[in-house]
């Protein structure tokens, strides 16, 4: 289906025009030999291009942009090493179902398969980590492929799509006509839940005395937060979220009981274990959530709402599957439900909440990492919080008070250190009016700290708060608890002066060493309106609690020992 007139342009220009038609405003990328024709056309275009300093950051930035805005993010690289540098970012987006489109240069068609200079089989390499990918063999197919790519990336269960563009294809003249509709006979996601199943679910809910809603990242990607809260309130069920589901319901909501799973709150894990009905929405019963699967929620019936048929009964058998978009399904479910007989249950859950609150050892002289998160939470109430991976990530999940969806952005499925800073950069580009804070570890931050150059050059005022514990803390915690405190290669103290590092790039560098210095430093960084790094020297051997050891049932905890 095409409308409008055709025009003659080369493949590269066609690509840019197609991106514009898709509503793309920003690209994150890095040029090289096989993508030069594209960059040559980009030179005259109105598209904003952010030149990163490592292609991995381009992929993460596109991902952060997508998660913050809900739109599809775009990254660009050259062939070979440029393309392989994107791989970690693509895999990260794949695991967390984030819509991005990656454009890679490729050697000219005649050289493909010859081990040509900077040739890598990137469609082969990314096959298991993309929702779909294309090697463009025919320049005339560019408009259709771009249309399909954006459609596939952003619909159904979202995910990354890669388009590999041989250099000669970028140079060939084509008749450009952008299709306004496409039809893929093999790809038709189901959005509307089966009404019969929805009615059955409503009956289950009516018969339940101890219901719990278990919400995942799908609630956020389908923009179903309002419906989630409405359902919870309509049936009076407590809500727990996965790491990816955080911010889908305000932290302060009386029915919210926090994150569940390995580092979940005790009350969330107790509640799921004792529930008689789990309403899973856009969540996938990951091993970090269920713990030992045989002992997970032994008495619960399960309703599973998901857009991806392959997630239904993958890890755990469900009783009532409802295939569809979380928002649409919840909308119709809300019409049928009535309040359950859950008063006693809610009371019990609230009792647990009081009895086993999330807590930590407070200190007057040492900065506790959890305290830093609480300070950020007070200073930057409406900020978008992005994280790296490690202990600081879990504390950010546990101690920040989120109020709106898409304000907690983290690498959940792949757990990619080095994700946070470039993703924060992408989030800030997409949401320039929001304060964007990257909560980082001293290890993770060093995995993509070169992006300080990017944020300074492009004036992207992201604030990095480094919880500097001198350790690869999460690994150190496992070594402490399960390997007899043998801290094998996890000590990294003194690796770099983060303040000077920031200054070397022209960013603002600040340090806080005492509890009293934390808040002023964060305030100053946010107020400065500049890209910043706040180096907070924190207690070096603090642990994330509660913790369920890998493979244990999720109500078997290792706990904080009181001093």
């Amino acid at each position: 289906m095409t409308t409008g007139s055709t025009e003659k342009v080369n493949g590269a220009k066609a690509l840019i025009k197609c991106l514009e038609k898709e509503g793309v405003d920003t690209l994150f990328g890095y040029p090289g030999g096989q993508i030069i024709p594209f960059y040559n056309e980009l030179y005259d275009s109105d598209l904003r291009h952010i030149l990163v300093r490592h292609e991995q950051a381009a992929a993460h930035a596109a991902d952060g942009y997508a998660r913050a805005t809900g739109k599809t993010g775009v990254c660009v690289s050259t062939s070979g090493p440029g393309a392989t540098n994107l791989v970690t970012g693509i895999a990260t987006a794949y695991m967390d179902s984030v819509p991005i489109v990656a454009l890679t240069g490729q050697v000219p068609r005649a050289l493909i398969g010859n081990d040509a200079f900077q040739e890598a089989d990137i469609t082969g390499i990314t096959m298991p980590i993309t929702k779909h990918n294309y090697l463009v063999q025919d320049a005339q197919a560019i408009p259709r492929i771009v249309k399909e790519a954006f459609h596939i990336a952003s619909t159904g269960r979202p995910g990354p799509v890669l388009i590999d563009l041989p250099k000669d294809v970028q140079n060939i003249e084509i008749d450009l006509q952008y299709p306004d509709r496409i039809e893929l006979r093999s790809y038709k996601p189901t959005y509307k839940g089966n009404p019969q199943q929805i009615k059955r679910a409503a009956e289950e809910i009516a018969n339940s005395c101890r219901p719990i809603i278990y919400a995942g990242g799908g609630v956020i990607s389908s923009n179903a937060s309002a419906e989630l809260v409405e359902l919870a309130e309509a049936i009076m069920a407590p809500v727990t979220t996965t790491l990816m589901g955080i911010s889908s319901i305000p932290t302060g909501h009386p029915l919210y009981i926090g994150m569940l799973g390995m580092h979940g709150s005790k009350y969330a894990n107790y509640a799921i274990q004792e529930s008689d009905l789990i309403i899973a929405v856009g969540a996938r019963f990951d091993d970090r959530v269920t713990g030992k699967i045989e002992s997970f929620a032994p008495n619960a019936r399960i309703i599973h709402i998901d857009v991806d048929p392959a997630e239904i009964s993958k890890n755990i058998m469900v009783d009532i599957p409802i295939l569809g978009d979380a928002k649409q399904v919840l909308r119709s479910l809300i019409k049928y439900v009535q309040c359950c007989k859950s008063e006693e249950w809610i009371e019990k859950v609230n009792q647990w909440k009081k009895e086993f609150p999330l807590t930590y050892c407070h200190s007057q002289d040492t900065v506790m990492p959890q305290f830093v998160i609480e300070q950020i939470s007070e200073v930057c109430k409406d900020a978008i919080i992005v994280t790296e991976v490690g202990q600081h990530q879990m504390w950010a999940a546990q101690f920040f008070k989120y109020s709106k969806p898409r304000t907690f952005i983290t690498s959940g499925g792949l757990g990619t250190m080095g994700y946070g800073f470039p993703a924060a950069m992408g989030a800030k580009v997409g949401m320039p009016d929001k304060t964007v804070i990257n909560i980082a570890g001293d290890g993770s931050f060093q995995m993509n700290s070169q992006e300080l150059a990017t944020v300074v050059q492009n004036d992207i005022p992201v604030v990095n708060v480094v919880l500097n514990n001198g350790y690869l803390g999460m690994v150190r915690q496992w070594q402490e608890l399960f390997y007899d405190r043998r801290y094998s290669y996890t000590f990294i103290k003194g690796s770099v002066d983060f303040v000077k590092l920031a200054e070397a790039y022209g960013a603002l560098g600040l340090r806080a060493e005492k509890p009293s210095e934390v808040r002023p430093a964060i305030e100053e960084a946010v107020r400065s309106g500049r890209p910043a790094v706040v180096d907070v020297i924190v207690e070096c051997e603090a642990n994330v609690y509660p913790m369920v050891p890998a493979g244990a049932a999720i109500n078997e905890f290792i706990e904080l020992e009181e001093h």
């Binding site: 298991p128 929702k131 893929l184 093999s186 392959a310 993958k314």
Partner: protein
């Protein structure tokens, strides 16, 4: 338990490797895979034999369906379908054994498609059981080389996948 899946896919380069890589990375075992173009030149048909319980089959099917180039997946039940496989078996043969091999081939309605001084090649078509049976009988003469196409199947009657 074995299942025969008819998988209709877009006839595009790379589809076979998408399907094969999916099986490999999810740890599903393929017993056999046969692929060829269909009555519609834009569509190829793969016949994949997998083993696993109902849960595995369900997973294989839904994961295959997630591939953009997969149009549909049907579990073909043996009692409802015509299933065939073709094998070429090169057996050691001399003047003394040739007659006996021909006899065996006849019983199985197999054909001798090549004869050389020291060997014969037998072409046999049938279901898995038949091919196994003839293979077993020919083994006594010494099988020098054997190749099988993997199973293909069509549902009986008017029904299509």
């Amino acid at each position: 338990m074995k299942h025969t899946l008819a998988v209709l896919v877009e006839n595009k380069s790379g589809v076979l490797s998408r399907v094969a890589s999916l099986f490999a990375r999810r740890g599903y075992n393929i017993d056999s895979l046969a692929v060829g173009v269909t009555e519609d030149p834009d569509i190829s048909r793969m016949t994949i034999v997998v083993h696993g319980d109902g849960h595995v089959l369900e997973q294989v099917t839904t994961q295959l369906n997630k591939l953009i180039d997969v149009i549909n997946v049907t579990d073909i039940r043996a009692d409802d379908a015509v299933e065939r496989e073709l094998a070429l078996i090169k057996v050691a043969a001399d003047v003394e054994t040739r007659a006996e091999i021909i006899q065996i081939a006849n019983i199985f309605r197999a054909r001798i498609v090549d004869v050389a001084p020291k060997s014969m090649t037998v072409e046999v078509t049938g279901d898995e059981g038949k091919i196994q049976a003839i293979e077993k009988l020919l083994r006594q003469f010494g099988i020098e080389e054997m190749v099988r196409t993997g199973k293909i199947a069509l549902v009986r009657g008017a029904k299509k996948v």
